[in-house]
Each structure stands twice: as C-alpha cells, then as structure tokens.
Symmetry: C2
Subunit: 344 residues, 2 copies
Amino acid sequence: MAIDALHRTLGVHRVLEPPGVLPQAATRLDPDPRIGPDEVRIAVSRLNLDAASFRQLSEAHGGDGDAVRAAVLGIVESRGKMHNPVTGSGGMLVGVVEEVGPRSPLGLVPGDPVATLVSLTLTPLRITDGLARWDGRGEQVPTSGTAILFARSIAAVLPDDVPQQVALAVLDVCGAPAATERVVHRAGHRPSVAVLGAAGKSGCLSLAAARDARAGRLVGVVRDATEATALRAAGLADDVVVADATDPLAVAAAVGEPVDVTVVCVDVPGAEHGAVLATAEGGTVVFFSMATSFSAAALGAEGMAADVTMLVGNGYTPGHAALALDLYRRTPGVRALIDPRVAR
Amino acid sequence: MAIDALHRTLGVHRVLEPPGVLPQAATRLDPDPRIGPDEVRIAVSRLNLDAASFRQLSEAHGGDGDAVRAAVLGIVESRGKMHNPVTGSGGMLVGVVEEVGPRSPLGLVPGDPVATLVSLTLTPLRITDGLARWDGRGEQVPTSGTAILFARSIAAVLPDDVPQQVALAVLDVCGAPAATERVVHRAGHRPSVAVLGAAGKSGCLSLAAARDARAGRLVGVVRDATEATALRAAGLADDVVVADATDPLAVAAAVGEPVDVTVVCVDVPGAEHGAVLATAEGGTVVFFSMATSFSAAALGAEGMAADVTMLVGNGYTPGHAALALDLYRRTPGVRALIDPRVAR
C-alpha cells in the first residue's frame, strides 16, 4: 500500500499537531464535520468515558460534577478528541450514521445506530451542546455533536434486542472477553483462571468467556463483601475471594494455589504485582486496565523471578463485539452484574 | 507457603515506606548491610544504569555530569535503592559476594564475582564513596557500597572468559534475547522478525537469538546511517533499514512487508505504534523498552484495528543469563557491536 493511502486509512490527514503523527499520538485533531470520500460522519448521542479516565477526572476535581463537565469540555475543545492527557485514555461513543463517503469500506448506511469500537483518543470529535445534559457524575455522557470514522476504524451496528446503554457498556469492554477466550484456549487443558476486578463489566464478561473457553478452576477476586455477594449470586466463578488488588501479597494469599491465567480488569494503578504473584510459573497475565504501568509489570516479574508471559490487552480482536453481546444475552449472571451498573 | 515466608522471600521485611508493599513498589528500602539468615550481602563495585533512566537524568540536567552524579546519589540516599522516580526504572550491579546467610537458596559463596539480574528498583543499596570515581556521563558507574539479595533474587556468577564490563552489559539485557528466542520458537515455521533498535545491546542480541531460533527474514531497524553501516558489517540481519522508531509511518514504510514478530529494543518513548504497524495480522510485538507506554500500545493497536499479540518484555526467563553470554561468545557480529559500547 502506498504510504499516502496508509495515511488516509489511519486518519493521519486529520492530525493538526504535530503534523504527520497518527491520530492517537496527536495533541490536536481536526473535527471538521465535512467528510472525505472514505470517511463516515456520526451524529453523536452519548460518550462512554474510560473508567480510569473518569475516575482520574472525578478525583482531580473532588467529585464536583460541574468541574468534571468543564474539564471534559475543555479537553474536547482543545484537542478535537476526548483524550485524557493524564491517563492517556478515552472511551467510546454511540450515535447514528449521518453521512457515508462513497469509498468508505465500513459497510455502514445512514441511519444505522452504531457504537465506535476505536478509542475516543483517536476519534475526531466536536461537541455542540456544551454537555448540558450531563451532571459530570458518571461515565456515560449524553450529548450532541459529530464524530468522524476513518477507513480503518471499527464501529458496531447496535443490536435492537439490547438497550442502547447496556450495549454501549458491553461494547466498551468487548476486547477483554475476546482476548480472554483466546488466551484460555491457548493455555492448554482446562487452565485455572483468576480475574481481578471480577464483578465489574470487563471482569464478569471475562469470567463468562473463560468458562466458555473450557477453563478449569475459576477464581473471581473482588474488593469487598458487597461485590463478593453479587458475584457469588451471579454464579460465574468457582471461588469468590476478597482482596485489595493493589496489595500483591493479599492477592496472592486470597487466590491461594497460583493459577495458569490471570486477567486484570481493575481500573486502579498498582495491580501488576498481585497479578504476577497470583500466576503459576509458565502462566499468563493479561492486563486490561488502562491504569497498568508497563515498567511496574516488567520489573515486578523480573524482581520476583517470575517466569510468566504478560500481555498488553489489545482492545481489538476480530469478532469481539459479537462475542461480548452474545455472552451478555445468554449469561444471566453477566446480565445481573451489568444491568444495575447501567440503569441509573 | 505461609504468607510470612513469602514476605521474607521477596524482601518485604526490608521495606520502610509504605509498609507491607513489595520492594519495587516501595518509596524507601532499608539498605542495612547486616543480613538475615536467607539474605546475601554483595560488596558493590559497579552499577549499570538502565538506558532510559540514564537518558532521562542526563537530559534533565543538560548533560552536566556533576549534576547527574548528584541526582543519582540523592535517589539512592533517599530511597535506599537506585529507582529513578521519573522513568520507574533502575538497572543492575556487579560486585563480589561478601556474606551468605545460612538459609540462602541462591548457591552463592563468599568471593564469587556476581551480577544481580534483578532490577536496582528493588535492591537495597548503600553507596559509601559518594560516586567519586564516576563522571556522570555514562551508564556504567564505578562505585563502592553494599547491596542485599533476597531468597528469590537472581544473581549470575560472572564468567572468567568475558571482561567484567562486557558481561555486565550483556547480562543487563539478557531477558530480551531469551524472550525473543521463545517467541520466535512459538511463532511457527520460520517467522519473519523485525528488531527496532537493532544496533543496540538488546537489539543485536535479539537478532542473534531470532536467527538461532530459526527465524525467516530478519529486519534490523536502526536510527541512522552510522548504525546501519555497523549493523550491516555485523551480518546479523538480512535487511538493515533506517527509520525514526517514533515515527510509525516511517517504520512501516521502512520494514515493508509486515513481519510476524517485532521486537522493540529502542530506549525512547513513542515506538509503540510503529511496532504495531510493522507487524502482520496475527503477529506478535514484544516490548523491551522501559520507555513503553502501556496505554499507547493498547489503544494504538485498537485504534488501528490491528490483531496483534503484545507482550510486556519480562526481564526474567529461565536460563537467560547463560543464553545471552553464549550468544555473545559465539557471534562475532554481536561482539563487534557490543565491545565498542563498553570499552571507553
């Protein structure tokens, strides 16, 4: 592929600063709603902020919703995208396809209700309602505006049998169960699996995916008794244990016999060493938290002389959207954990 | 294992702040030279600072050697370990075994010349000469002092057929070739491999390890014509190409046909996207640079809809020290690239 064509495919032509970098690395994108021949314009109806990003913004502003709203608005206006400069993360959005360029390969049609499955950190975004309908107190942000998809972006047409907010919440984390399924499949015969943050969205879907992939013993690690009760009722794990994921020795003690695969779905920093300590020699850790520190993971494993394979959770695995929605539909325990997080 | 025993094995009893965390997560360790029954005391003769750490310190102080020396001394005095608070990385050290506790499992004997293969970020360290013999202008730091090894630390006895400074430089990066060998072995029949930062220590050893593991096409990516000439002369790669590793589109263009395995050995931030773009669908990227950003890697792959497996380079793989020294001994091209970096 010629380099110019690769550039357009990836959206490099939308980068304002610094020129010639990829959209995610850019400090500022051009969110002009007029589309090129291979682009798609979405009429945005809702943003779903990345959990680590929302948590950081909320903590930085002492939980003051108005201040959080102003901060998000400021980021989008200055950067042309919702890219939290502190956490480096974004989230995703839903909306309706408004216009499709004649050479777009995405197969979308005007009027399709869609969720973008590429990060907000690289999606040109314009907000036109000042976020007036959002109280700044939750990750889901009702809004109006426009977003641009490139030729190599990914968007899922929203199903008509799942409420939109639920579908959004599921699709936001659909990379985790898809990657978990793949890792468990490759880990041999009935590998034991522990999930940190098991009562959350990505955690419960990852547990269900691991079960589907014929995992052996399934351990759900949660942070308190309330979550433990909910996860036990959901029936997704063989063992449910309570531990502070940022306390490595507590995690190791709670999990007990080290497992073959550990999936990290907590959205707080400092879970790297517990995950490594909970994993058996020769096992695999998959990090899905955007709060993961690369150096803490690499040096932690080395420092503990732990022969574990550590994966950077890739948000994209082919078929991830369909897999996650399917797990949601046919797993009552997943629905029981996710629905209350959405219906507010 | 009882939790108290696990604590001692990992060195938790040496943590001063905050109490109860693992040594790498600690802000301050106790470098008291008196050892416990399962500990080992090393008489330190030399530190080898992590490349990313030294680069950051040097840049922060405008290349002023005296200021860099004062900064390193300040870090060690305040933290009880050489743990760069900005990069999160450390390095390793060499010395001579001075005292071995009666219950140490490491098999060391007083008088053994050793290199520690666990990071300085978790090794209790005391410097007693004020770094008076170091000019602050290179990663290798001659010094005097003491360091402590725990039961689960790793130290390699230095070979007598390789100069000490060379062995130190090789052992510092020995995780990279060992992990590269493993990944290439698992990647199927004669996978093509690209190494970013191929003329550096970990880069050239990784190329040699990939060749040993029966890789197919081997591409060495370097930053300038000088490195290209040196790498071509070393004969370690089939193709040697020049590209700025932080320019993803330049890396993709230089590598050409995407490869099955990409190994990232550059010590500057921003190489994540180029590595992903250079890698074929279904391929693997191994990140060895401590300058790697977890979120840039995860979101970059997602944003480019790239189905690649991304590994956090684990500094520990069983047998890594012997493998790296062996590659150095029997690969003239590796010696030709590493020797000039050490003999200064």
